[in-house]
Symmetry: C2
Subunit: 255 residues, 2 copies
DNA sequence: TTAATAGTGTCTATGAGACAGTATCAA
DNA sequence: TTGATACTGTCTCATAGACACTATTAA
């Protein structure tokens, strides 16, 4: 384990031996998680309220859940993101994807910092909010509202915007929305989820053809419903990764 | 970015003030750049050889150009990547895109470290290698060879593989290869570049139609050539960003 | 029978792939 | 005229979008 080296020590005027290059001042390293779900026919994101009355920056403001990498607890960045998620939602194995990183001298008033942002998709059913040790409050917010009036702490509004763009973009050609539903789900439910995320209607017949052709769903028996024809229930054949629908620029026969 | 309570503080009975949370051990923060070009009809990547005979890890191995974020020189991560690129190639404004980040307790023997990886596309013509202060040597390598026998320092083979996948994937539906050519370039040259990156032939007629329809090229006069019909020269209308070709899942009329 | 939702059939326009053809230069 | 490369026209077929149709349940 890395010993606690003097982090803010400046490089000496004469070039130090290379083995001491690691004595440069180090930026803070954090991980933030953009946690999405679909609730009440709207895309929502989980935020935590920063504490008031302490020495911490952005008191009282809403922010993405996250925090410093703990070199003792976290074996890698993904594990750190998973820990943050678990602390806030008690969801242990959601869809989790790296979004990007944001680092600069000014994004955190405490000094040069870099955050590794992840985004997660969790089914509404699994939600069970837990107030973290350092979070005054935890709540779901409608993404559309947040995009209209960006008021998050630090550069989190920018991170959120990037996450939404990435999600909306990938939804066009992947099976990602399936990770927003608890299994078993029906094709109409899945279609509704696509429509909520995309913000527009989708043709039913084409949607069904496309989903079946992508061959990532498994029939799991009819689901009872009230007063109509019962729909087929499905689950994912492989929950570890989404499926990509065909792109352009490919030769006729093969892929 | 909610800070946790001081995890590394030894057994203090009363919780320390939150403002001391930043005294946690910090991971190293580095930036690495995957620099691509097309040379001799092959996709190549720039590598630097790590010094031998010092206390640094991976002596003598080839690695991606990169290094520690310098909190005094670099205003943000992108600026740091730009600096690394400039130090090695003297190219100042290439196409530069964030690739992702890799961080873990074990990827660097010196301790917990996180690197922010970028990838750059530069025209062959602009190449002018410069030996950096910390690089015993700098050279271009064929990507296909490196993917077959991954022997790079740290986890750089993994980063390279991700970069190549990202590049090949985006080439299918963007104008990225245009950033690998010096202006003015011709459509046959551009097509060749697409074919080199994709590793397969592309139909001429369809290619031309697609490029013209994307409306990102500007005619700049015929280019002289030897003993045949002179081709039209083009340059990019906007060098700041690539163009995306149409995707699927979109309604008839609009976009 | 009706209401409601699940699911299917079918027509058509678009557009990409394949490939044959024409254009323009130098020798 | 020939060879070489630049560029264009055209046929065809797969498919996505649009929308009307049938299926299956409960009341």
């Amino acid at each position: 384990m890395a010993a606690k080296t003097p982090q803010m020590k400046k490089a000496s005027a004469t070039p130090a031996p290379r083995s001491q290059a690691i004595d440069f001042p180090r930026p803070y390293t954090t991980v933030d998680v953009v946690i999405f779900t679909v609730l009440d026919d709207a895309l929502e994101v989980l935020l935590v309220q920063r504490p008031s009355g302490t020495m911490e920056p952005c008191p009282g403001q809403w922010a993405l859940p996250g925090g410093f990498v703990n070199v003792d607890l976290d074996v890698d960045l993904m594990a750190c993101a998973r820990r943050k998620l678990l602390e806030k939602t008690a969801v242990s194995s959601p869809y989790l994807e790296q979004l990007g990183s944001w680092g600069s001298a000014t994004r955190d008033p405490r000094g040069w910092s870099a955050t590794h942002a992840y985004f997660a998709l969790i089914p509404t059913q699994d939600i069970q909010l837990a107030k973290g040790a350092n979070a005054a409050d935890v709540a779901w917010f409608k993404v559309d509202d947040l995009l209209k009036r960006p008021r998050l702490a630090f550069d989190h509004s920018e991170i959120l915007q990037t996450a939404v763009e990435r999600l909306r973009s990938k939804v066009e050609y992947t099976s990602l929305p399936a990770f927003l539903l608890a299994e078993p789900f029906t094709l109409p439910q899945l279609q509704k989820t696509y429509e909520v995320v995309l913000g527009r209607a989708v043709d039913k017949s084409g949607f069904r053809t496309r989903m079946i052709a992508a061959d990532f769903l498994e029939e799991v028996g009819f689901v009872e419903s009230s007063s109509n024809r019962p729909p087929m229930g499905y689950r994912l054949k492989d929950r570890s990764a989404p499926v990509f629908f065909p792109r352009t620029f490919s030769p006729r026969g093969g892929d």
